[in-house]
Symmetry: D2
Subunit: 337 residues, 4 copies
C-alpha cells in the first residue's frame, strides 16, 4: 500500500494507448503533427496564446524556465524549501549558468507577496550584489498547499512592479486546479505568470511534462536551450502524445481530483494531526515514531518528512478502496500523540 510518492505511480492506460497510436513514422524532433498541435491545444485550455515545450522531467522544465527569465548573473527569489532550491541538485544553477536562488520564508513552503518583498528589499542596487530577475513559486507547494488566484495575482503584481519574471513550478498544478476549482488561466497568465512547468508525470503520465510560456518571445530561445541541454528527443511525438492524452476529456483534471479526494479522506480521518491543511493529494501527519512504525507494520509505505511528521501521498490510480484502509488506520491512532 504505497503512499510514498506519486512520482513513480503507473502511467494511465490512456497514456500508454496514445504511445501505440503515435508509433508511426512522422517528422523527427518536434516537427511531427502531435508536437505541432500542442500550442493550439494548450492555448485552448488556457484561453490565451501559449507556447509549449515538452520535456521529460520537471527539473528540466523548471530549470529551462528559470534560464529563460534570469541571466547568469541574476537571481531568482524562491522559498527556502522550494524544489528548485532543495531537491534539484543544482539544476537551476546549471541551466542558468550560475544564477543565484534568493531565499524567502513562509509556512508550508508558501510565499506571500510580503515574504517576497522582505527578501527583495534588503538587496542593494549595484554590481556587488546579485540583483533579482525573477520569482518562482510552487503551486501546490512542497507541502501540498494551493496558491489561490488572488494570492498568485498579488505575487504577479509585485513581479510586474519590480520588473521581475514570474515562474510557477506546477509539478502538481493539476492538483491545485482541482482543489481550487478555478480555471488554469486564473492561476497563471491572468495572475501575471510568465512561465509554467505543468506537471503530468506524477498525475498519470509516463515521461512528459509541459513547459508553457505565456510570453511567446521567450519560447524561441528556450527551444534552443532545450536542444543544447540534450532534451530535444528525436521521437518527440511520443512525448506530445502523452500530453495530448492527458488533456483529452480532462484526464489531467479527473486524475488530480481522484488523488485529491483520497488525500482528503485521509486528512479527515486525522484532522487533529494535520501539520498542514490538505489542499491537494498529500497529507502531512504528526505521528510519533511508534505510531509510524505501527502504520508501516500494517503495510503502509510513506516518507519520513521531518522529526514527528510523515508525508502520505495519494496517486491518481488509488481510489477510495485503496485509500480507505489508510484512513481507517490513521483514525485508529486516535487523538494527537
Amino acid at each position: 500500500m504505497r503512499f510514498f510518492s506519486d512520482n513513480a505511480a503507473p502511467a494511465c492506460p490512456e497514456v500508454l494507448a496514445a504511445l501505440a497510436v503515435a508509433n508511426v513514422q512522422d517528422t523527427a524532433y518536434d516537427g511531427d503533427a502531435l508536437s505541432q498541435s500542442l500550442d493550439a491545444r494548450f492555448s485552448e485550455l488556457f484561453g490565451t496564446d501559449v507556447a509549449v515545450l515538452w520535456l521529460p522531467t520537471g527539473t528540466a522544465a523548471n530549470s529551462l524556465a528559470l534560464a529563460s527569465l534570469c541571466p547568469p548573473y541574476g537571481g531568482v527569489v524562491c522559498h527556502r524549501e522550494a524544489h528548485i532550491q532543495a531537491d534539484e541538485a543544482g539544476a537551476p544553477e546549471f541551466f542558468t549558468h550560475g544564477a543565484k536562488l534568493l531565499l524567502a520564508e513562509g509556512a508550508g513552503a508558501k510565499l506571500g507577496a510580503d515574504a517576497i518583498r522582505a527578501a527583495l528589499d534588503p538587496i542593494k542596487p549595484g554590481v556587488h550584489w546579485v540583483q533579482p530577475h525573477a520569482i518562482s513559486i510552487t503551486n501546490v507547494t512542497e507541502y501540498g498547499l494551493a496558491y489561490s488566484p488572488q494570492e498568485t495575482a498579488a505575487i504577479g503584481a509585485l513581479a510586474r512592479e519590480r520588473g521581475l519574471g514570474f515562474h510557477v513550478d506546477g509539478a502538481r498544478f493539476a492538483n491545485a486546479v482541482a482543489h481550487l476549482g478555478c480555471s488554469p488561466a486564473d492561476l497563471t497568465w491572468r495572475a501575471g505568470v510568465d512561465a509554467l512547468s505543468f506537471g503530468f508525470i506524477k498525475n498519470g503520465g509516463m515521461g512528459a511534462e509541459a513547459l508553457l510560456f505565456f510570453r511567446r518571445d521567450l519560447a524561441d530561445a528556450a527551444r534552443v536551450r532545450r536542444k543544447r541541454a540534450g532534451h530535444l528527443q528525436s521521437k518527440g511525438r511520443f512525448l506530445a502524445a502523452q500530453l495530448l492524452a492527458m488533456l483529452t476529456d480532462d484526464l489531467w483534471l479527473r486524475n488530480a481530483r481522484a488523488a485529491n479526494a483520497g488525500a482528503m479522506l485521509v486528512g479527515q480521518a486525522a484532522a487533529a494531526r494535520l501539520a498542514h491543511p490538505v489542499e491537494s493529494n498529500a497529507v502531512f501527519l504528526r505521528v510519533t515514531s511508534s505510531e509510524a512504525a505501527a502504520l508501516r507494520a500494517q503495510g503502509f509505505e510513506f516518507y519520513d518528512w521531518a522529526p514527528g511528521v510523515v508525508r502520505l501521498v495519494v496517486s491518481w490510480d488509488q481510489d477510495e478502496t485503496s485509500v480507505r484502509p489508510l484512513a481507517d488506520a490513521v483514525a485508529a491512532l486516535g487523538a494527537r500523540a
Copy 2:
C-alpha cells in the same frame, strides 16, 4: 517511402510491449528493478564490468560523456564533421562548461590515429592554449563508415600514450557491430575506449539511449551530472525497459543487420555512384539535381547532404520489400551522371 533518416522510425513492437510490462509501481528514478539490472545485463554483453546510465537522447549521452572526460578548461579532439561539433547546438560546450572541441580531418568523417596526432601535435603546452583531455570518434561515422577494432585500438593506444580519455559516439554503434561482425568488446574497452554512447533510438527504440562507462570511477559523478541536467526521469523504469527489450534475443543486432542489409541492397544497385562505401544503414549517392528530383517524384524521401550528394538511410523496419523499389530506382538512373 522514407529514407530520410532512421531517427524518426517507429519503435519496435518489443519495445512498446516492454513499456506495458514496466507499467507497475516501482521505486522512482533509477532505483527500480529494471534500471538496477542494467549494469549486469550490459556487463554480460560487453564481457566486462560496465556502469550504465539511461538517457533520452544521444546528445545528452555524448555531452555527459565528454563532461566526464574533460574539465571546463580542456579540449576534446573530434572530427570537423562529428555530430558533437556540427549537429548538437553546442550541447558539449553546455555540459562541459565551455570545453573546446579541437577539430581534426579525415575522409568520410573518419579519424585515423595520424589525423588525431596531427591535431594534437601543434598544441603547445602552457596555460595560453586549450590542452587536450579527450578524443571522441563516431562509430559508425556521420557518413556511415565503420571503425574496425584495429582502427579503434590504434586511437585507444594514442589516447593512453597522451593521457587522454576516449569516447565513442555510437549513435549507430549497433550498425558498426553488425557490419564488422566483431564483438562489442572489440570496439570498446578492448580498444581502450572509456565511454560509449550506445544508441538504441534510431535502431527501434523509443526514447532511451545507454551511456556506458568502462571506467566505473567515472560513473558516480556522471550520475550526479545527469540529475543536474534534468535527465533523471522519475519513472526511469520505462527507459530501462526499452534498453532491456533491445538487448533481449539480440534485438539490437537483428535490427541493425536488417537496416544494414537494406542499405547494402541499394549500394549494390549503384556502386559507381557511391560517395562512400556502404558500411552501415546509410547510402551516400552522387546524383544530379534532376536525378534527385526524379527519385523524389517516385515518392522516395531523402536528405540533400551536399551539392551533388544525397543521403539515403534504411531503418530497422524496412525489409527487402520496402527497399527493393529504391534499389531499382537507383539502378535505373544508370551509370554516373
Copy 3:
C-alpha cells in the same frame, strides 16, 4: 576623516617604489623573475611548500580557490554573511560553474565546527541534493572577528573527516595574524587549510592579492583557470613586485598592526557600545541615527552596517593622530544610547 573602508586606502610608498624597480623588460605573464620568486618567498613565510598565484582582487582569489576545491555540481559551506555569499555578485558561482553555497550560521559571521556540522548533517547522500565538497571561512570575519589557530584547526579536522576542501578568505588575514600574534602557518596548513586568499590590497597594496595553495596538486589547474578568467596579466611582474614589497621587512604585518591599533583605540573609547569585540581593524558600534549624524557632522565617514550599527574601519596609514579624534568623538557620545 575616512573610516568608511580600508579598500580604497592609498598604496604604501614601498609598493609604489617597487613598481618603479619592476619597470624593466622581463618575461611576460608570470615568467618573470619576480613572479617566479613568489613560491619561495611565501614558502619561507609559511614554513612549508606553497604555490602562489597573484590576482588583482580578493573576489578573483576566492572564486578561483573555490573552483579548485569544488566541482560545478558540488557545494561549499560558508557563513550566510560571508563575503563570497553576500558581496561578490555571484563570482563563486561563475568560477565554479554553478556550485552552490551552503549556508551556515554563527554570530559575527564566524563559524564554529559545530555550526558547520549543523549545515552538513541534514544533507542526505544521493544525486538529488548538492553534496558538500569544501568549507570556506573568512579570517578575520566580515565583522572583524579572528579565528584562532585552535578554532581553525577544529574546522580543518572536520573538513578532513568529511573529505572536504578547506579555504580561508583572508582579505584581512594580516589583521588576524597581527591580532592573534600567531604564525601564518598556525592559521593555515597546520590547521588543515588547503587554500588561502591572502589579501594585501586593503593593507597597503595597490592591485595584487595572493592565492596560496598548500596542496601543490591544486595549483596547476588553478593557473589554467586564471588565464581562462582573463586574470593572467602580461606584465605580471608588477603584481609580483607589490607582493614582494609587502613581504619585505614584514611590511604586511606592520601595516596590519597599525590599523588594528587604531581600531583598538576607538574600541576602548566606546567599549559599552561595541556590537562585536575588536579583533582587527574594524569597529562595529551601536549608535542611534542622531548619534551617527553627529559623528558625520564632525567629518567622520563610515558605513551604516545595519539599523543601529555602524562600521568604522581604520586603514594601515591612519596613525594615532588620525584616529584619536574619532576615539574622542565616540567617547563623547557617552554611555549606550
Copy 4:
C-alpha cells in the same frame, strides 16, 4: 635586444607618474573621480557617446565584449587564427558560458566580408546548429595587418544586415590608427562596431585596457559581469589613471607611431623577405633556421612563428637607435634564402 613581443615592454614614465598622482584616497571600485571621467574622455576621442570599462587584460576585455554580444547558446564568427580562438585558453567560452567560435579564413588572419559570409551562409537555421550572434575581428590582425575604415565598414554592414553584433579586438588598435592615419571613429562606430577592446598595455601601459561600448545599452550588464569575473578592482583609480595618462597629449598615438616606425625600418631592410606587409609594429620575415640562428647569435630575440617564418615586434620604447642594428642585421642576410 628584445623583439620578442611588445607585451612585456616597460610601462611609460607618464603611466608610472600617473599612479603616484592617483595615490590618494578616493571612492572604491569605479566610483572614483578618475574612473568616472573615462566615459567623457573617451567620448571626446571617439566623437560619440562611449561607455568605458577598465580591465587588466585584453583577454578579459575581449571575453567580456563577446559575452555582451552573444548568448551562451550562440556563436561568434572570427578568424581561425584570431587571438580569441587561438591564444586565450578558452576565456571566450568561459565568459560566454560556452558560446561557440565559428571559424572563417583569410590571409594574414584578416577577414573580408566575403570570408565572413562564407562562414555564415552554410549555417542552417534551426535549433540543431549554433546560430551566429556576433562577428569579431582583430585590428591590427595577429599578423600586424590593418583593416581600413572601408574594410571595417563592409563587415559592419554585413553585421547589421544579419543582425549580428560586431566586436573589434584592438590589442594593437593604436598601431592601426597610427598606420592608417584615420580617426578612431572611422575604425569603430562609424563602421558599425559595437564594442572595442582598446589595448594600452602593449603600447606603454602597465595593467589597464579599455573596453568600449558604442551601444550604451550593453554597458550596464557588462559592468555586472566584470564584477562577477573578479575584475572590479577596489582601487580602480589606478587603472583609470593609466588610461588617462595614455590619452593625454595623444601619448597612445605617439607610442604607436614610434613602434610602427621601427617596424617599418626593419621591413624596408628586408622587403623581399616579408611574409606580410608591415602595417603596424610587427615584422614577419621569411628566414631559414640558420639565418634565424645567426640573428640570435647577434643578440636579437624574437619569436619562431611558423616553419621558416619569424616574428619581430618593435615596442613603443625602441627608437631608431634600438632598431637600426636589427634592420642592418636583417639587410645583411641578403636576398631571399
